[in-house]
Symmetry: C2
Subunit: 275 residues, 2 copies
């Protein structure tokens, strides 16, 4: 999917919501545990319920990996289901990978060729040659960690070098030499508030994947005020507050309500901040 | 496995070799492709051939993940085989994981509870709360990326802050507050030469996992000169130069010869530098 196609979806749906499929066998409704593949059954219901209100899905790979082979099967089936039923949805494997060149090549093969996701989150710690193999796949996206939503993001990402450049700024500037806004997005946590403005100074035109609205406490209004650009440029993710909105039999309709609530807010944000 | 048990193995075998199982379906001997599970058949033969000469195995998770479910099965079977037949071997999942707290917990569960490896490599970019969940598992190890073996390691890891502290040094110092040498090791590339000395100034007593000897060009002698401590403190990994020493039917005996060659060198390094 291209940047323009993604923006067209955002306009059509008046939403830039990404639903995070952090599907945990310990948290899904009990009655699903009787199904052959509970995680897949859960995801399928969540996707069917939320698809009208979002433009992207982000399965969090850890949650599937922790279930071993059964989890991987649920992951693959979920991706295949979304592609088949909702081909306009952008699918992100939240995997946070990154390794020496020959190994990153294997990861790129795993996610893009085997699992056929549109984008994968990548960690910059190991530098250019750990990221580049992911860029060899046309029309697939690298979504680089820059400024994460967690408390530990302050441990290293804000460190200033001798010239006062912070590590997250250095990552942004360096990465501009690796790929354009047509192939790279950045992860910037909703909890980072005004720092989003500093991100936008370096990458005004890129899409940002913004986690941390909802359970983690980030503000949607703040994200839009500091982060929205003329093509929206935002995919705002919410996971737990949507998929675990209710834990009973009506979990899917509760998820739809939560997603719709966010979509309505997003519509008004687009009216206000799209410029 | 404790630090003392690992050192006891090193003394007994006069080796601190870790064999990297970067097993790639495109590189393993052709005759194995007829087997039900070619990657597992390959690993089994490599493990049986090299076990006398090493103290650890490090399957590189990317290579299995790139094969989808079939790859995960091969990974799990390989780990189970090593545990059962060679219970004294230390098993490292080279996964380079790290995410927000609830997700790192899932990864820890995946590798320690599901796959039962002894240690997992973890990326520090997201800071303390992304690493800590891995430390909640007693007698399991976090092996933190500090100074990697690839060229891109220079992009960010050597950045100096205002006080002249480099990022890899900051990671080392911070991480000392998270866990002791009984639960944490560090990845330091063999290609970093004299920088190993700077690592040892901060973490004199920890084990280091050192990739990059062999195909990547690092020198074993240099690693030992700058990195060995009184309990050896080194696990030196070699992957491709051992497992792909020969690509014909005698691949396993060729791997054994390469591993043995390294073990003999390591024995003389222990005689020279263990202090």
């Amino acid at each position: 999917m291209t940047k323009e196609q993604l923006f067209a979806q955002i306009q059509r749906k008046q939403s830039f919501l990404c639903v995070g499929l952090d599907s945990d066998i310990k948290k899904i409704p009990e009655h699903l545990l009787e199904s052959d593949d509970p995680l897949y059954a859960f995801n399928k219901a969540i996707v069917d319920a939320t698809a009208p209100y979002c433009v992207a899905y982000k399965p969090n790979v850890a949650f599937y990996e922790s279930m071993g082979v059964q989890g991987w099967l649920a992951f693959e089936k979920t991706v295949a289901y979304i592609h088949q039923r909702y081909p306009q949805q952008f699918i992100i494997a939240d995997a946070k990978r990154g390794d020496i060149g020959n190994t990153s090549e294997m990861y790129a093969r795993a996610f893009f060729d085997e699992m056929k996701v549109d984008g994968v989150t990548v960690v910059p710690y190991m530098g250019e040659d750990s990221v580049k193999p992911f860029l060899l796949h046309p029309e697939r996206w690298v979504i680089l960690l820059v400024l994460t939503s967690n408390q530990g993001s302050h441990d290293f990402q804000l460190t200033e070098d001798r010239e006062g450049e912070r590590l997250f700024e250095k990552v942004l500037r360096r990465s501009l030499q690796w790929a354009s806004a047509d192939q790279m997005m950045y992860v910037v946590g909703a909890t980072q508030g005004k720092l989003l403005e500093d991100v936008r100074k370096i990458v005004p035109g890129h899409f940002l994947l913004v986690p941390g609205v909802g359970a983690q406490g980030g503000s949607l209004e703040e994200v839009c005020r500091y982060g929205m650009n003329s093509q929206c440029g935002l995919l705002v993710n919410s996971s737990r507050s949507i998929i675990y909105a209710e834990t009973g039999e009506d979990f899917a309709s509760a998820a739809a309500s939560e997603a719709k609530k966010l979509q309505v807010e997003m519509k008004s944000m687009l009216e206000r901040y799209l410029r």
